[in-house]
């Protein structure tokens, strides 16, 4: 087992980590702004993948280009879902939001299953066989394209958050919701738009995910367990944490897949989580609330 295999696996980990970073940043954003755990984020990623699938299958639209269509659709859907299902929750928001978003996930899974059956799908493009090699390890170029797109989107997201007035409003809401309200920020509007952005990033993530991985309506469970693990490790509500954790986790997983075995690879995810919880419950960039995470 040459070192090139490990380096190659690590490289792949970075490339897929970028895509996970995009998906989990949306999740972190939603938590940061609204203090709710969107357990349905995985389902939304899968929904984004299916939207791209439909565009590809029925209209021959390339998945990357199709993002121009799928992202606005998912953004709009996100805003609507927030207005209808999340905003009415007043008291006990955190606990109820978990149940609500889980219900949404089930609903999405049900609809997708009805429309597309349980068959595995994948976004096949003409250029998905071209690959390059790192020593003994081969990586298809689509992983690189996906990574570049993810990086571009994350940069755009950070640009939005740190260079625009709206972004400042979002960051203020994340820091202190009441304080933000007191200075005149419409936190409800910010929340709705943040949820929409979260969905849009899920759409993008879903498309990239769907190009490299076969998926079906059931895939959201596996996805959400990983995404949730990532944001806990990164620190709930921290975008930086989500990105670092994504890259870290995926590199470890892919290297473990090569060093140990593929079947135990996703177990490493949870092992890392357990270790992190024992050592640092608030995650890498999380804030210690009172006594714990």
């Amino acid at each position: 087992m040459g070192p090139s295999l490990i380096i190659g696996a690590a490289a792949l980990g970075v490339l897929t980590g970028g895509v996970y970073a995009l998906m989990s940043s949306g999740l972190a954003l939603i938590f940061g702004v609204m203090r709710i755990i969107n357990v349905g984020h995985g389902a939304m990623v899968v929904l984004g993948a299916y939207l791209s699938f439909v565009l590809l299958r029925d209209w021959g639209v390339d998945p990357f280009l199709g993002l121009v269509v799928t992202m606005p659709i998912m953004f709009g859907l996100g805003v609507v879902l927030e207005l209808v299902f999340v905003r009415p929750l007043r008291a006990d928001r955190e606990a109820l939001s978990v149940l609500v978003t889980y219900a949404l996930a089930l609903g999405i899974e049900g609809v997708l299953g009805y429309l597309f059956s349980a068959d595995y799908r994948q976004l096949r493009v003409s250029y998905d066989t071209a690959s390059f090699a790192i020593g003994d390890f081969r990586i298809t170029w689509v992983y690189v394209y996906g990574f570049l797109l993810a990086v571009a989107m994350l940069l755009a997201l950070f640009g939005l958050l740190y260079r625009t007035r709206f972004g400042a409003a979002v960051r203020a809401t994340m820091l202190n919701r009441t304080g933000a309200q007191l200075v005149g920020i419409d936190v409800e509007r910010v929340s709705a738009i943040a949820f929409g952005i979260g969905m849009a990033t899920a759409a993008a993530g879903g498309t990239l995910f769907g190009i490299t991985t076969a998926f079906n309506p059931d895939s959201h469970y596996d996805l959400i367990s990983r995404l949730l693990t990532i944001i806990v490790l990164g620190g709930l509500g921290s975008l930086r944490g989500a990105i670092v954790a994504s890259l870290g986790m995926l590199v470890v997983e892919d290297v473990a897949s090569v060093l140990i075995s593929p079947t135990w690879a996703d177990f490493t995810f949870f092992v890392i989580l357990v270790v992190a919880l024992v050592v640092r419950p608030q995650g890498l960039y999380g804030v210690r609330v009172r006594g714990a995470a």
Binding site: A95, L99, L106, E109, L277, P281, A293
Partner: protein, 331 residues
């Protein structure tokens, strides 16, 4: 009044399979009682302490595998003997839950939910990968008792016993100082701690008790369905169903989970559950879920309780407003 009502309910429950025999009806009874037990047990953690666990399904499966492994390794013959070993599965689950719970309970609220989900998936992966132990995705087989036509009936009574146990445990916790401590943790954990409630120990104890009950119920379930597979016995839908039932009925109340289970489980069983249809079933399930959360955020039992209070005070006010002929008019 309460006690006689309870006795009546128990009497009905015991008489049910005799009065309404037939595998289909008793089957509904088995699953309904299963969820009564599960929802009540979950409530000990979720309702009393406020720590929402979405991973209880993992322990349900753990209990099933525990009992299955004990039974197959010890070559226990099919029959009533298996039921006698159920408490052992409960103990096994409890022992497992101690370190897991200790780690999980180091986190709060949001993180805790995620950790429980992670634990559930970890258990599922372990069950699938440890093929030598669990049979992996090929499953584990329980011995099949030869009870013929009345096959479901002993399982019904086993589930009834476990449901009654769950309720008794939940009831006694609720009336105790320990239970008060749990409710205090739910309201404000730091304040509870500063008032002297031993939060770490209490939370863990509640978690372990809850999970042990769930594990035992899982054991009986495994025996009932004979073959257990990682993805079907560690099923997130089972986990969320018990949460929804406790929630619908009223988290933190004693009767709430029971009411929730009695309403939802028969309904759940009557939805067509063929493989092709099961997808739309999810949509309906989700819709019910959302309607319950948005319309009855506190659950059936507390809301009914409120209505009862309002009705009573309304009647009382009416009674006091009624004019009396001998009322002296103060000038």
């Amino acid at each position: 009044m309460r006690l006689s009502g309870l006795a009546l309910l128990l009497g009905v429950a015991v008489a049910f399979p005799i009065g309404l025999p037939g595998p289909a009806t008793v089957n509904v009874g088995v699953f309904t009682l299963m969820y009564v037990g599960l929802a009540t047990a979950w409530n000990i953690v979720g309702g009393y302490t406020g720590y929402i666990s979405l991973g209880h399904a993992g322990f349900f499966g753990f209990g099933a595998y525990a009992l299955g492994l004990i039974v197959t390794r010890a070559h226990v013959p099919a029959g009533v003997d298996v039921f006698l070993l159920v408490p052992l599965a409960g103990v096994a689950t409890a022992l497992f839950a101690i370190p897991v719970g200790w780690i999980a309970l180091r986190t709060r609220e949001a993180t805790f939910v995620i950790v429980t989900i992670a634990v559930m998936f970890m258990l599922q992966i372990l069950a699938t990968n440890l093929r030598g132990l669990t049979g992996g995705s090929q499953g584990l087989a329980f011995p099949v008792p030869g009870w013929g036509a009345a096959f479901d009936v002993p399982f019904y009574y086993a589930m009834l016993a476990l449901a009654a146990t769950s309720l008794t445990v939940s009831w006694s916790i609720r009336r105790s100082r320990f239970g008060l401590g749990l409710l205090a943790i739910r309201d404000d954990e730091d304040r509870a701690r500063s008032l002297g409630v031993r939060t770490e120990v209490s939370k863990l104890a509640a978690f372990v008790v809850s999970v042990a009950l769930v594990g035992m119920i899982g054991g009986v379930y495994g025996y009932y369905v004979t073959y257990i597979y990682p993805q079907f016995v560690i099923d997130p839908l089972i986990g969320i169903a018990m949460v929804l039932m406790a929630f619908l009925g009223g988290m933190g109340t004693l009767a709430g989970p029971v009411v929730g289970a009695l309403i939802l489980e028969p309904a759940q069983l009557y939805f067509p559950y063929g493989l092709g249809q099961s997808r739309l079933y999810l949509v309906v399930y989700a819709a019910v879920f959302l309607i319950v959360i948005l319309l009855l955020p506190r659950g059936v039992v507390p809301t009914l309780g409120d209505w009862l209070e309002q009705w009573r005070s309304h009647r009382l006010a009416e009674a006091q407003d009624r004019p009396r002929g001998d009322e002296a008019v103060v000038g």
